[in-house]
Amino acid sequence: MRLKQIATLAVALVVALSLAIGSAQSARQTTLVIGGDWTDLLTIDPGVSYEFSGTVIIDNIYERLVKFDGADLSKVVPGLAESWEIAERDGGGTSITFHLKDAKFSTGRTVKSSDVVFSFERAIQIGGPSSFLFTDVAGMEIGSTVALDDKTVRLDLPASINPSIVLNLLTFNIGGVMDQAEVEPNFQDGDYGQAWLNDHSAGSGPYMLERWDRSAQVVLVANPEYATPGSITRVILRYMQEANAQRTALESGEIDIAYDYTPEAFQAAESNANLKTYKTDTFQMTYLGLNSGPGAPFEDNRVRDAVRYAVDQQAIIDSLLLGLGRRMQTIIPAGLMGADSTIYYERDVEKAKSLLAEAGATGLTVEFLIPTGACGGGIPCADLAAKVQADLAEAGITANIKQTVASELYTIYRAQQAQIVLAAWSPDYPDPDGNATPLSNYDASSIAWRNVWNNPEAGRLATEGATTIDPAVRAEIYGQLTRLVATEGPYDMLYQPYKPIVTSAKVEGFVRSAGGDVELDRISKLP
């Protein structure tokens, strides 16, 4: 290329660049931009989605029969159903009859009870990662959902199922109702329209999908058919993997909400007048799983107790999480019915040592399995593990850290092969049973099983808690269960993290529930 040509090109480049400066000022007030690491977003199909990122999007596109009101997860409120009643069925079991409100899909069609039947049965037929909520937890099958007329739909449940648990799980993505007439013609190769639903939407919520540019952005626009639209007409979820990138983008006004802040950056943001900080709740628990099987290092409960006495929870929260977490020692986290905030173990290194001596486990050496990346509250798992390792060493337990990618860790953990594992748990649905059964019932083949802890009493209490309807009796059962698992179970609970979220000071009405719901239509932006 000649020099002259190069010079011409350079000038053209400079002109093009300067043209763009100061552009893109329009429509800022009705557009909301959220920066976050959305790499876990795999689908926008409510019948399949099982990720937190999916919840933010799907719950604003698809209405469920019932929902929670903002961050209050104590009771369900009307969604697509304006009312419902629970009745005993002849021959055992219960049924919930829902009466639908007047609503329209973004396609312009009216929401009918047949759409509810279609959506629920479709989710069961697909058998996606969240389908067990319907089939296992709710005991639903094809034919369980019955359209009585255009506005009434009945859900039949077997006798072993607690209808209040079912109502709670219907608030989740899988309960999203879609327009049958729009989705059904787009079934391809037996995929029930899954491919189509990733680039289109057919819901009755306040927003609809405009486009999903994989790994770049998801764009939602207001649903013109929605009865009570909010002031934000366009929502853009931008992929920003780096917490640092989110921080600079928020400070420069490029985004309005940042979903991933490190504890240090969050602390700095708290004193910045241009920003608002939110410690939003989660149901997540970060814990140590202790293999309690025959011949395993933690078979003796005194050794497990020694771990619980040795690890300094408060120091983890103060120095690593910088306050972005709360202490908890039981299997039901704060915010759920049955939550137990009792502190059973204060740090006591001498006690831990004597327990180890009693159990004949002095000089215990174990392999400590930890995942790569960030643990609850956004702190590097390696830092957290190092702290735990140091605490255990003080009590005389040598924990050799082995760090692997999460998928490899799960493979080992699932095969009951971990000795101590650093792991996290979130309930699949906002009900105490979402934790109680997997964490205490060995027969559920979940977490209690992975740590080879088989306690028939705990299993019995978990089953009783799941099937009891009277809330007072349930709370009593969960009280017994949490105490039992806290003092004898195969866990050392470390903390319940907050999810730190930072917004521009101009953003009003931001609320995130512990389940990950954000009602975007309730958000507004000051000029």
Binding site: I6, I21, P129, A216, Q217, E242, N244, V405, A424
Partner: protein
């Protein structure tokens, strides 16, 4: 020449097959279960088993390999375990962003590296040469992730001259997708605002990604030019009274181009596949971030797809370089 190209294309198939074969068997010895990765922490054992059966993961490795090769022969790369989409669709989505970034980085490397190299050679051992050589050393030794964060902090956060991560301002609408290369699509749509913004977004990541290549190109050009400049024909050209610029740019540079071309081929390949860090920090939705996400999710079909594409790109670029040799130097002939 034609016979040469055909032969090279033939060996290219073998190279790509070999790369794919290696990737497949590495994926088999990794001690982790893709089903566990896909279904996450809370999955029930029955779910895991059903998943494995549905995706054919319960079959012995050789059988999985034969099945894979059979569908590959029909141009089907399979479905991603993670995204659930045909891998070809995923690659079509992610490759253009990486391609755009790589080409931009390459242009930087050439636009800065060649003049710097020439100047350094002409002014050998003068302060200018020393400056270029120092910069080249620093550029070649600077870690990409450090440079990326530094540049973002300086030009985006502190000075506010350039936009932050991403390909386009969130408030701008991307033009209709034709090639997936945003700048080209904007140009095709005649959307100057988007074009300008996309170029501004491209500037920093391309500069960061291209820093190493710029340094390398500058050093290559310098040493090649030094060699040529000391040859007789240059002295003759000067003796004929030709102006210095003409001697340097026309006579010497053309002869110095050959060694530079060699390194360019492998650089481009390395850039295409090595953009992972830059893409992560700049939230660039390219092949690098796709490959990382796929690898951590043990999404082997996707990893295979990326590997094959990378192998193919590398081979094709090297073939092009070989062909370009002939164009630059008619003395080279391929039998």
């Amino acid at each position: 020449m034609l016979a040469f190209i055909l032969r090279r294309v033939g060996s290219l198939v073998f190279v790509v097959w070999g790369v794919g074969f290696a990737a497949f068997f590495i994926s088999q010895v990794v001690p982790a279960d893709p089903a566990a990765a896909a279904l996450g922490n809370n999955a029930r054992p029955a779910q895991v088993a059903a998943y494995r059966e549905k995706r054919g993961l319960d079959k012995p490795p050789w059988q999985q390999y034969l099945l894979y090769m059979r569908s590959l022969a029909t141009g089907d790369l399979g479905r991603s375990l993670r995204t659930g989409r045909p891998i070809l669709n995923d690659l079509r989505d992610f490759f253009p962003a990486t391609f755009e970034l790589t080409i931009a980085a390459m242009l930087f490397a050439l636009a800065l590296g060649i003049p710097a190299g020439i100047l350094a050679a002409v002014k050998q051992d003068e302060p200018l040469d020393l400056g270029v050589r120092t910069l080249a050393l620093v550029g070649g030794a600077t870690p990409v992730y450090w440079l990326a964060i530094l540049m973002l902090q300086l030009f985006h956060a502190k000075l506010g001259w350039l936009p932050g991560p991403g390909r386009l301002d969130a408030y701008l609408l991307a033009p209709p997708r034709v090639t997936g290369i945003l700048t080209l699509d904007a140009l095709l749509a005649g959307d100057w605002e988007v074009l300008g913004d996309a170029l501004r977004h491209l500037l920093l990541p391309a500069l960061v990604l291209g820093a190493f290549s710029t340094a390398l190109v500058a050093r290559m050009v310098r040493s090649a030019m030094l060699e040529v400049l000391s040859q007789d024909f240059v002295r003759t050209a000067k003796a004929k009274g030709l102006p210095d610029t003409k001697v340097v740019l026309k006579h010497a540079l053309r002869n110095a181009a050959l060694p530079v071309l060699t390194v360019l081929g492998s650089l481009l390949g390395a850039l295409l596949t090595g953009a992972v860090l830059t893409e992560t920090i700049f939230s660039w939705p390219g092949l690098g971030s796709y490959a990382t996400a796929s690898a951590t999710a043990l999404d082997f079909p996707a990893v295979m797809g990326v590997t094959l594409i990378a192998g193919l790109a590398y081979s094709v670029i090297n073939l092009l370089v070989d062909v370009l040799y002939v164009v630059f130097d008619p003395r080279i002939a391929y039998a």
